[in-house]
Structure formats: C-alpha cells, structure tokens
C-alpha cells in the first residue's frame, strides 16, 4: 500500500468513521526528487470545492501517478493538478458551460464526438465510481490503494480501450477527459490552481505570459531563451 507521509484523506475518514488510522510508509525517493520536493515545499492544502473523499483520493492517485516527482518537477498533487481539476469541475466548465445539453441522447459514431448526457462534473462523479469498481473487481482495492505497478497496468489498459465500466459511463470518454485535464492542470496558468510555482512551464522552458518577443526573436535565433517565467498573477 502506497501512502503519503501524512495521509490526510485517511485521517479524515478515520475521524469520521472511527476506523484505525492508516499506517504510513514513505517510499524511498531519489536524491534529485527529494531536493526538488524540498525546493518547492508544498503549501497548506487549499481544500476541495467539488471532489468528495473517494473522488479526491482517486484524482490525487491519478495525478501523482501520471506526474511523478523526479528531477524535472514535483509530483502532480504538489503542482496542484488535483486542485486544478477540482476547481474546473466546480466551475462553469464542469457544470456544462458551452456544452449543448439538449436531448435526445444517442451514442453516435466516434466522429460525432462527445454525446453523453453528462456535464464534465457528472461524468467525473459517475466515472470515478465506475473506475474504482473496476479496480476493486480486478485488483481487490480502489485505485488509490493499489500498487504503482497495478496503477500503471490499469491506466495502460484503460487508455488502450481494454477497460469497460459495467453500467457506468464509457471508460474511454472518461479517460480522455481525465488525461486532458491532467495536462491542463500541469500546463495552464497557475491562476487556475495547477502548475504551481510555474513548474510545468519551467520543465519545458515555456516562458509564460511574456508581453513581447519583438527584441528576442532574432537575438535568440537557435539559442536557448533564458528569462524568468512569468504568470498572469506576476503581471497583475
């Protein structure tokens, strides 16, 4: 069982249900990752506005698996990718902004795109339940409780379309949305809760919210552009 040094969710659960607190075991980390983690000390958890405990555990496990801590960046939850997803689901996009939601509802062909009668928030709610049910059926535990190797196997099968959710929403559609949201949480402006400390941008050398490159475009021709990475709040 993989656990964070302090499993907040397990703590909350035990506080509610009165069950024993989870035993915490830290996995060994590389020296690089430890340095990186120390450099970007995770701030106090900002809390969730949409995800419930089960959903939060699932999203945290998924984003930390997809974005592990290493020399290139802190892990997904330390980047706030889970917070990005929570805020996106609680906000207009999650509630179906700019999404045509009139029936009748048909499955359609793949080329007809998204056809579910669900807002993104509703898809997450149903999708996480179904994904955990599949995990329990296959591995005996929910997604946040299975091993790294099992998570990898599950995600690979899921991405390849080899996983189906009985009675749940189409597995592939939910995977596509989840994956896209993880990328958004890593690479969107930090103003949305993810990409904390601009670490996603720094990882690839994207300079962020630059006012002008008129002087740079020739100066940095075939040269690495080195400058402070700037976000919207830095310039506001």
């Amino acid at each position: 069982m993989k656990n964070e040094p302090f499993d907040r969710r397990a703590f909350l659960k035990s506080a509610v249900a009165g069950s024993a607190a989870a035993v915490t075991v830290s996995l060994p980390q590389s020296a690089d990752a430890q340095q990186r983690a120390a450099a970007a000390a995770p701030p106090a958890h900002p809390g969730y506005t949409f995800l419930n405990l089960e959903e939060a555990a699932f999203v945290e496990a998924a984003v930390d698996h997809m974005i592990p801590a290493d020399a290139l960046s802190p892990k997904g939850t330390d980047l706030g990718v889970n917070i990005y997803i929570d805020r996106a689901l609680a906000g207009g996009w999650g509630k179906g902004d700019r999404l045509y939601m009139q029936g009748p509802w048909k499955t359609g062909t793949p080329s007809q795109g998204y056809q579910l009668p669900l807002t993104p928030a509703e898809l997450y709610r149903a999708g996480i339940k179904a994904a955990n049910a599949y995990s329990v059926k296959t591995y005996g535990k929910t997604f946040d409780k299975i091993t790294q190797a099992q998570r990898e196997e599950y995600l690979l099968a899921w991405q390849a379309g080899k996983v189906s959710f009985e009675g749940g929403p189409p597995a592939r559609t939910f995977f596509g949305m989840l994956y896209q949201n993880v990328m958004e949480g890593m690479f969107s402006d930090p103003i949305y809760g993810g990409n904390r400390d601009k670490a996603g941008w720094k990882m690839i050398g994207f300079p962020g919210v630059i006012a002008t490159h008129a002087q740079n475009i020739e100066k940095f021709r075939d040269k690495k552009y080195v400058a402070d990475t700037v976000s919207i709040s830095d310039m506001s």
């Binding site: 698996h65 997809m66 974005i67 592990p68 290493d70 290139l72 996009w93 179906g96 902004d97 700019r98 999404l99 045509y100 939601m101 009139q102 009748p104 048909k106 359609g108 062909t109 793949p110 080329s111 007809q112 795109g113 998204y114 056809q115 990898e152 995600l155 994956y179 958004e184 690479f187 969107s188 402006d189 949305y192 996603g200 941008w201 990882m203 690839i204 050398g205 994207f206 300079p207 962020g208 919210v209 630059i210 006012a211 002008t212 490159h213 008129a214 740079n216 475009i217 020739e218 940095f220 021709r221 075939d222 040269k223 690495k224 552009y225 976000s231 919207i232 830095d234 310039m235 506001s236």
Partner: protein, 591 residues
C-alpha cells in the same frame, strides 16, 4: 409579438469583417445602417490586454471568443444514411462571436485566390478532358475573374495591414515572393514578418529541392503602420499568442479596430449588440425582403427591424442557416440533385509531419500569426500536372510556428509513453527542439457534402439546428497522400534526429478534433440561378434586396485561407451596391 421598429436603409446581420466593411462603406455612401450582432462589443484596451489575454486555457481550450455551442451549434454526420447528432462542444471549427467575429481570433493568413479557382471547371476540362472531373464532384466556375477582384484584394490587404513579398508584380516575377501568384498591381503594404528558424530551415531545403518558398502573406503588421483609412497599427510583438486570441498590440488586422470604429463615428450607423437575428422577412410576393426579426438576448424581447436592403454577413454557416430558416431559395436535395441552398459545403484538409532536431532551439513561443514559409508549387502552378495523381485542386506546404502553447503543443516522438518520468523527460527535451511541416488542400465539392435543417435538434431560441452531412472523399485522400509524400521528402532532406512521417489519412471527418475554421459553401455564387444561390454581386437570385457575403458563397474549398477573398468580395459588393444597385434597385444580373 415583435415590436416593429422604424425602417432603415440597410440592416447588417453579423458584425465581423464583412459586416464591418459593408457598414463602413454604406454609411459613407449616406445610407442609414443598423448592424445587429449576437455577441458583445469588445475593445483591445479592455478585453485583449496583457496579462489576461495571455491565457491558453481560457481562449484556446475553453473557447472564450467563440460561438457558444450550448445556445447554438449544428448537427453532423458523415453520410446521409447516418443519424446526425449535435456537435455538443465546438471542435472541428470555431466560429467567432461578438463584434469583430472570427476576425478577432484569426491568425491573419491573407491570400489571393486566382482564376485557377474561379474558372476551375473550364480549366480542368480544357486541360484534362471532360471525364477528368468525377461525376459526383459538383464543381463549377464562379463567374468572377482575378482581374476584377485585383483592386479589391489590394484594398483589403491595405486595410488589414498585410505583410508579405510580391512574387508577381504586374507580370514581373520577383525573387522572394510567390512566383505562382497572379499579377499584382502593387507590392504588399508591409514587408514580410521576421522569419523563424523552423521556417528558414524548411525554406532552404525546399529551395534546394527546386521549389519556390516565400513568407506567408499575413495581416500582422511587421512594423508600425497607418492604413488608408487612417487606422493606426502597432508592430507585431511575436508574442506567440495569435490564433484564437485578440491582439493587444493592434498589430493583427481585425475589424473591431479598423472598419467598425470608423462606421461607429458616422451618425448614420447604429450597432446593436446581443441581437440574435432569427429570420429574414419577405413580402407577399416573396421576391423582396422587408427586414429581419431579432431577439435581444439580454431581455428576451423580440423586434422587427424593417430595411430596404438586408445584408447577411455572419459566419458562413450562420448565413446559410438564416437563409434556410427564412425560406429563401430552394433547399438542396442530394437525391434528386435539385435545389441550391445548402449545396457544396467545402472545407480544407491536409497531413503534417513532425521533425525532431536534437540540439536546435526553435523557441516555438516566439512567433507571429504567420511565422511560416510556404511553397505553392503544387497548387498555384498550373503547369504542375495533376493527372499523374488523379485529383482536382492542389495543396500548399508550410512550416513555422503559430500559437504553439503548452497545453495543446507538446510534441514527442512516436512510442513515447503518455505519462510518467519518461514522458516528462521527452516533453522537456522536445518542446523546443521540434518543428512541423504541414500541407493544406481545399476540399472539392461533392454531391453528398451539404447542409439542411435538422429534423430533431433545436437551438436556444427553439429553431432547428443546421445539419451538416460531410466527409472527405477520394479526391481529398489522393491529395493528402501526395501532400504527405512531398512533406516526407522535404523532411528527410532536412536530416532530423527523429521524424514522425506525414500520413495521408482516410479516416472519416470528425467534429471532435480542431482542423480549421475554413468552412465554406452552402449558398454558392454563380452565373445562373439553377446552379447558384447568389449572383456574382452576391445578390440573392430570389430576393434582389438581399446580399449574402461570406465564404458561404465559395463554390469549392481552396488550399489558400479564405479571409483575403472574403474581404475582397465584401469590398466588391459594397462597390456594386453603391455604384449600381442604389441607382436602380433590382436584379443586377438577369437570370
């Protein structure tokens, strides 16, 4: 019950490039013009300012400047046998909404379509024989010539601050420009934009292979500029946030900072935003329109705006939709091949290849909207023999950068995992060391590519959605296969560390993935009402005081982006209304 307003001379439906141009021109001719725009008014200072405009999530991913699909979208299917379903989220194409329309979020590609397009059927039949054009390809001549369009192209290029290099000045072929363009009367108003490494590497290799690369003509001002109307442009800042964004530097030619403010200063002009036009009204004869019906979307109130002339100047799809909802012209029937409204929906398409160069620094985040070099050897060159490949049309090939932002643009070589440390390492390694080469060809019209009204789904005002039946056909597959071959040959000569080869896809068209906003056709232009919805002045054959201005009049799709031609056609229609129609209102071309 709609409130009936006082009659005006002209009502303009949709205030982007075409509505803006016609509003300015016709108010200057002394007409009282009311422009109705479904979206809101925007200004560079308030809405496109740094830092908030530099937000990929908001503008690229969440489509802030686009039509709201929750309120109005279309249904789509690949074949008439399928059931069409709503495009529930915008994907394949992105119509703009609000004052300025798609002219706010375009990247500025400005091309001159030539007689090779306008005389397409005649030229192909003459050169390749009558049997060369497939029976189901509903190709036809447009009825206009490059010579008559030339001054209007020039006008639009100057108004929109187009940067480029002439390749054919009055018949003289000039180095550095496109040698296959039709003769221009004058140079571009501004010199080409600064080029980027990826475009230069592509251009060097293409030139060595015997092709003729040139900088893509683009309405991004390469230096500070004042256009003939007195509008001041700033210089392009190469900010990397162009396509899908408004321009904070006022360097991108956009209607909200050019033609529309000029119209606004004229007391003859009135702009009404949040006004969603639902119907064009006809008189009892059905041969004249009397105005439009619209809903104020802030209050829900309905109004009738009577007018002597009605101009449909919305996005191409919405112009056709409004004609159908209003019963103007006979709807096209693909079974009997009768009727015209909805016919010849077209688009553009093309493969792309990806090149990875260890050790290079492309700086993909430093780019204008048009930091590309292009070759036109397989499109503009009529001597290029299409019969070897068996298609009608052609493609341009280009390389460079435009809006390579990190949520959407993170190239990694094939076989890279989608997550984990290995994925992170590859993403970090290749973001700055990769470039693409892509081809773009026009979709040729086909009997089964068309619009009609959906029998089931409705928009927010309870009207039937447009239904689009569309797929790529054999002609596109052949062009894409050839395009991929050309890309791969050039790419291999560039000796990349890794190459993601271009492939000519035969997958069905999908609404889910963005491809291009160059939808065209549906109320096409031509020389007689049997085969066209509007005449060459873009005047409805059915109602002489209705003009329909947009890419919806294109009888087929092209390799070039459409806006240069759309803008030129708007100026031409304005001229025709001023010089001919007002003196003698009636059919300008006898049927």
């Amino acid at each position: 019950m709609a409130t009936k307003l006082k009659e005006v001379d002209v009502v303009v439906v949709g205030l982007g490039w075409t509505g803006g141009i016609l509003s300015k021109e016709l108010t200057e001719a002394g007409l009282k013009v009311v422009a109705l725009e479904r979206g809101a008014a925007n200004s560079t200072a308030a809405d496109y300012a740094v830092p908030n405009i530099r937000d990929e999530l908001r503008y690229v991913i969440r489509h802030e400047l686009m039509q709201n699909a929750a309120k109005d979208t279309l249904t789509a299917r690949n074949t008439p046998q399928q059931e069409a379903l709503p495009m529930r989220r915008l994907g394949s194409f992105l119509p703009g909404e609000g004052v300025g329309g798609s002219g706010i979020h375009w990247s500025g590609g400005t091309w001159r379509w030539t007689d090779m397009d306008f005389k397409v059927r005649s030229l192909y039949e003459e050169r390749y024989g009558k049997k060369y054009i497939p029976e189901d390809m509903t190709l036809q001549d447009w009825g206009i010539t490059y010579a008559e369009m030339e001054p209007y192209y020039d006008k639009f290029e100057r108004i929109a601050a187009t940067s480029g290099k002439a390749g054919n000045l009055k018949g003289q072929i000039l180095a550095g420009g496109n040698p296959f363009e039709a003769p221009r009367a004058s140079e571009y108003p501004l010199p080409p934009l600064k080029s980027v490494l990826a475009a230069e590497m592509f251009a060097d290799t293409a030139a060595k292979a015997g092709y003729h690369p040139f900088p893509r003509p683009t309405a991004n001002a390469s230096q500070p500029y004042t256009n003939p109307d007195g509008t001041k442009f700033g210089a392009c800042q190469y900010c990397g946030y162009c396509q899908r964004f408004g321009c904070e530097a006022n360097a991108k030619g956009s209607p909200h900072m050019t033609v529309i403010p000029i119209a606004m200063k004229n007391p003859k002009f009135e702009m009404r935003t949040h006004s969603w036009v639902t119907k064009v009204l006809k008189d009892s004869s059905g041969k004249r329109v009397t105005g439009v019906l619209y809903t104020n979307v802030l209050s829900g109130e309905e109004f009738e705006q009577p007018a002597s002339i009605v101009l449909l100047t919305a996005f191409s799809l919405n112009n056709v939709h409004l004609m159908m909802l209003s019963g103007i012209g006979k709807p096209y029937d693909p079974v009997t091949q009768t009727g015209i409204i909805g016919k010849n929906f077209s688009y553009d398409t093309g493969p792309s290849g990806r090149l990875f160069f260890e050790g290079r620094n492309f700086n993909p985040f430093m780019a204008a909207g048009g930091s590309n070099h292009v070759i036109d050897d397989f499109n503009g060159d009529w001597n290029f023999d299409r019969s070897k490949h068996g298609y009608v049309g052609g493609f341009i090939v280009s390389a460079g950068f435009n809006t390579a932002l990190p949520i959407g643009y993170r190239p990694v070589p094939g076989g890279t995992p989608s997550w984990g440390s290995e994925w992170k390492a590859a993403t970090a390694k290749w973001y700055q060391t990769s470039m693409g080469i892509s081809a773009r060809s026009g979709v040729m019209p086909h009997r089964h590519n068309y619009y009609d009204l959906d029998p089931t789904y409705k928009n927010a005002l309870g009207q039937p959605l447009m239904r689009l039946t569309f797929d790529f056909k054999a002609n596109e597959h052949k062009m894409n296969e050839h395009g991929a071959q050309v890309i791969n040959e050039i790419a291999k000569s560039m000796n990349p560390t890794r190459l993601g080869a271009a492939r000519g896809s035969t997958e069905p068209w999908t609404v889910a993935r963005y491809q291009s906003t160059h939808t065209s056709g549906g109320s096409i232009m031509g020389t007689n009402p049997r085969v066209s919805a509007v005449n060459t002045a873009l005047q409805s054959w059915d109602c002489h005081n209705l003009f329909v201005v947009g890419a919806n009049v294109f009888p087929h799709g092209g390799a070039y982006q459409p806006t240069g031609l759309v803008g030129a056609l708007a100026y031409r229609t304005a001229d025709i209304i001023k010089k001919q129609y007002l003196k003698n209102p009636g059919a300008l071309v006898s049927a």
